[in-house]
């Protein structure tokens, strides 16, 4: 993407995040850093607290204690849509697209919500409209979606929907991208394409954090792995080290 109107790179940091549900600690004081230009993975068995931590980072769940920092700015108290506008984008395991909008409009929503302003007129408004159009076209081109731009998103197959969702997230010019099981519903060929797309984004300086069930994908993609079990971080470090860690294999089952 054209970096001239993108924000500087930023890291996402969680410090001592705690989240309880009815007295039970789903996440019990964990730390995590997602660095720019790197792909960080968060792994663990079902019920380990990955999703809760993910929601705390994205802003759909408020932590009971601890802080979430985006590029040094404390965003713990900000609602999810404000975090998005600060450059913290996310995707969903159950792909979130807007079926009655066209593919292009799906992406455009992401581009035009980048700022909280609407309906500006005059030169500033025109510049913004141009910026939105540029970002939309760029994101569509990056994922090879130009040919489908006018098609309704609802009729597209899973592989395309995954790309539409990613394109929308990217059109908002994120600095950090949170991915929830991004390969769910993709076949082997589509997964391979996704891997190269995500690598490309990291090379552009974006910080990627993915929650993933699939050890194979983690081994292929991640630079750094955090492993959770029962609400705690049990291991963190370079991918190969963590995936070979007996504590992780025990909690997660056989890996690779």
């Amino acid at each position: 993407m054209n970096n001239s109107h993108d924000r500087p790179a930023a890291r996402l940091t969680a410090r001592g995040v705690v989240r309880r549900y009815g007295g039970i600690e789903a996440v019990g004081g964990v730390d995590l850093v997602a660095r720019p230009g790197r792909i960080t993975a968060l792994v663990g068995p079902n019920g380990a607290g990955k999703s809760t931590l993910f929601d705390c980072l994205a802003g759909t769940v408020r932590p009971d204690a601890g802080r979430v920092l985006l590029g040094g700015r404390d965003v713990t108290g900000l609602p999810a849509h404000r975090r998005v506008r600060l450059g913290l984008a996310r995707t969903f395991q159950q792909i979130a697209v807007f079926p009655t909008l066209s593919v292009a409009d799906n992406v455009r929503v992401g581009a035009e919500q980048r700022t909280g302003r609407a309906g500006r007129t005059g030169p500033a408004g025109r510049a913004e409209a141009r910026d939105v159009a540029e970002r939309t076209v760029e994101a569509l081109r990056l994922f090879g979606l130009q040919g489908l731009a006018a098609e309704p998103a609802g009729a597209q197959p899973t592989g395309v929907l995954r790309l539409v969702e990613l394109a929308r997230a990217l059109a908002g010019g994120p600095r950090v991208l949170l991915l929830d099981e991004p390969a769910a519903g993709l076949d082997a060929a589509q997964t391979a394409r996704l891997v190269s797309v995500l690598r490309g984004l990291a090379e552009r300086g974006m910080a990627l954090l993915l929650v993933e069930h699939d050890a194979e994908l983690v081994a292929e993609l991640a630079d750094t792995v955090y492993a959770m079990a029962a609400g705690r971080m049990v291991a963190a470090g370079p991918t190969a080290t963590v995936l070979a860690d007996p504590r992780v294999t025990r909690a997660w089952g056989a890996v690779g």
Partner: protein, 223 residues
Amino acid sequence: MPVEAALRSARVRYGPLEALHGVDLAFPSAAVTVLLGRNGAGRTSALHALAGVVPLSGGQALWRGRDLGGLSVHQRVRRGLALVPAERGVFGSLTVAENLGLGGPGHDEVIELFPELAPLLPRRAGTLSGGQQQLVAVGRALAACPALLLLDEPERGLAPAVAARLHAHLLAAATDGRTVVLAAQSLPRTLAGAAVVHVLHRGEVAFSGEPGEPLPKRFATPR
């Protein structure tokens, strides 16, 4: 080898996500078939498609050569199909005896196979441990004396000895003419006598063959 049930170019879609990308799977009659794959590989979707729990978005589910498309779940069950789901397999508010009774007449045989269920009969299934619940779920399916039995990771939470007993029973049931399909993450050693192994990977068939053949490493029996 006669085919009891099959999926043909089967596609399953949950909202935007496609879990099975058009798979061809065959389950031979009077034999145990093991369906291997990791989480998200499509094992559960394949079993659910056969049982009618999820509709197919493409392709066919066949049983004894007949397209199952028009049959609802309970109609398939009444024709002799049974599915043990991987999760939420018992009626928590009913007693164990009621759970087994809903299955069918084979109540006594089940107790014979799993005597550990006998003292639990009057208890509410919701108060049991995970492993006990799993046993009740398996027992209910066996009580129905099904011709086509589908089990989704039935060993989950079971003690190895109990799981081995179950596997032996399944193999014996197959020689009696029943067809068994069992989904698992890796091939249990006690099911080495299975007739066919299918391996699913990302919603596609990655391997079909006999258990004795070299499986992809990660699905082989853990040593």
